[in-house]
Symmetry: C2
Subunit: 337 residues, 2 copies
């Protein structure tokens, strides 16, 4: 079974959802509209009136041996990552986190002290990003640790959530930060544990020059860019052309390349867990308003969308000689941390 096949099957039921669902499953977050009702406890008015608040919501899991190696990671960092992974989804919508709940299934022999370290990591990370933990559930069993965190978010006034479905032909493809090697520790920093979700950056970007589509890079550019291409609405099939020479390769990716013997660009495309933003943007808008850095983070134009010819794949990699290569098989489903 592939996660993607099951997800496709699930999204196939989206058309059955009721009208209060303002964003169905399939984006970085879903959303549902809450009616605004009269506050007075004595009132029995129905409160219809059309008003409402869109609540964005997303859930993400952190499983020992899949998304993190609990034995080899400080527990406070495990807790932090359970929160920041979700906040990266909030960033991908250019939204504002409001609150979170966490569920943990702990090995029976985990121990009170280690559990407190873990939940302290969760709580501190949640508080640091103004996303307080307002509830949770704890169970114990004879299997590895599994955390799941659900985050609630709202749109900032004036900034509608950026979906992953709005990309169009001729849009530029851009990423924040640098890609690849996220599992490599370098100068005491390990990206997949220590990254900062791009919350403020995403909202600045959306206010300055609104992307047509945005997603966070959790499974790697080679997996996540085809998702943006597949989600693009309309009748025109698209291909994403990525210039290998333009990829912002991280220092950790060059270290990973030294160790693996594979080229650094391959790590940048396939490693996953970058938690950077991938977005598409109208080229005229980009030319006028897209800066080279936002909040000190580089913004890199890595390619362009165009109409797909015949059976062209969703993504091709263009080498320095101008030769295009299909980027199939670089998709990445979590097999181990």
């Amino acid at each position: 079974m592939k996660e993607s096949a099951l997800l496709s099957w699930i999204y196939g039921h989206n058309r059955e959802l009721p009208p209060q669902v303002s964003l169905p499953p399939g984006d970085d977050m879903g959303a549902v509209r809450f009616p605004v009702v009269a506050d007075a406890a004595a009132s029995s008015a129905s409160g219809g009136g059309g008003g409402g608040v869109d609540v964005l919501v997303a859930v993400d899991q952190l499983a020992d041996g899949v998304h993190v190696d609990v034995a080899g990671t400080p527990l406070s960092q495990v807790g932090r990552k359970a929160i920041t992974r979700n906040l990266s989804d909030v960033a991908a919508m250019a939204a504002v986190p409001v609150a979170a709940v966490a569920a943990g299934c702990l090995p029976r022999d985990f121990g009170q002290e280690r559990a407190e370290q873990l939940f302290d990591g969760l709580r501190r990370a949640a508080a640091a990003f103004d996303c307080p933990l307002v509830g949770g559930d704890i169970s114990m069993w004879d299997h590895p640790l599994l955390l799941s965190v659900t985050v609630l978010a709202r749109a900032e006034a004036g900034i509608a959530p950026v979906r992953r479905s709005g990309a169009a032909a001729d849009d530029l493809i851009c990423v924040t930060g640098r890609l690849g090697g996220s599992l490599i520790e370098l100068h005491g920093y390990t990206h997949h544990l220590d990254f900062e979700p791009r919350l403020h950056l995403a909202r600045r970007l959306a206010a300055m020059c609104r992307p047509t589509a945005m997603i966070d890079l959790s499974d790697g550019l080679g997996a996540d860019l085809p998702r943006v291409v597949a989600a693009a609405a309309g009748d025109v099939r698209l291909t994403a052309e990525v210039e290998l020479a333009a990829l912002p390769v991280s220092e950790a990716a060059t270290v990973a390349a030294d160790r693996s013997g594979r080229p650094a660009w391959e790590h940048a495309v396939a490693d996953g867990e970058d938690y950077e933003l991938l977005f598409t943007i109208d080229p005229t808008l980009a030319e006028r308003h897209l800066p080279s850095h936002i909040e000190g983070v580089p913004i890199t134009r890595i390619g362009r969308l165009r109409r797909a010819g015949g059976d062209e794949p969703a993504m091709v990699l263009v080498d320095e000689a101008g030769q295009a290569h299909p980027a199939l098989d670089l998709g990445w489903e979590h097999q181990g941390p």
Copy 2:
């Protein structure tokens, strides 16, 4: 490590939560206030203005071997229970479910077809209770199935959420339905899988004669009633006196008693997974307005709260001779389904 010790430690941090948290962890659901902002995308007003919508949220897990036996249960029923367990928390607040998200960590060899059966159970149960699934996360690993579901809810106009903390001395203690034997299959019905969360009943009850405190019975009366006693605000310590003869013992509990050789009342107090409502109510209000049935479900007065003397426990069981017995050690933490 005990779940309860870890939870106490977590609740100890509640005072650090920011003001938008309208219900901190420790109740059946938490709540957070979402500001109502101007809808127009062009507006950049801050939208303060004091308006807001309280979003209630709770998360619950369903672990194979702990809360359900996946090999011995139709997968659609497993999915259903993952939803209805959470909806029982919504009922305990007398709130209205709005939407849910589900995370599943599946054994790697689970298979697409079985996964679809499972998620169909989730989806159908969610839809049946007007609580559409708006998001999810799927992972795979080499360990048993773990589902976690987060449900979002709202207060019905005129019915503020009923907390578990409002009980006072002299309040009557009441339960809905019948208790005990929830794992026993009888006439093709197995309560822990097939129960109906008391959503409408709870709101009818709250509108008719508002309880002072309410909780859903997930861990059994012997564990959940002491929680209501402990949560009661104020300086007066309370004891809950439960009349054994008054307990509404289910038919399944009498079958369980025949098999176990223990009295049926013990099953009603200690079995867990009743998913009925336990509530306390002002005795004068109860006398005037509390019916014997709501929507065909019996409402039973099982005892009374009074000031605790000296080192009296949170809960005592009163036998037919009028003799009170401490109800310690009947608390129930999930060990197996």
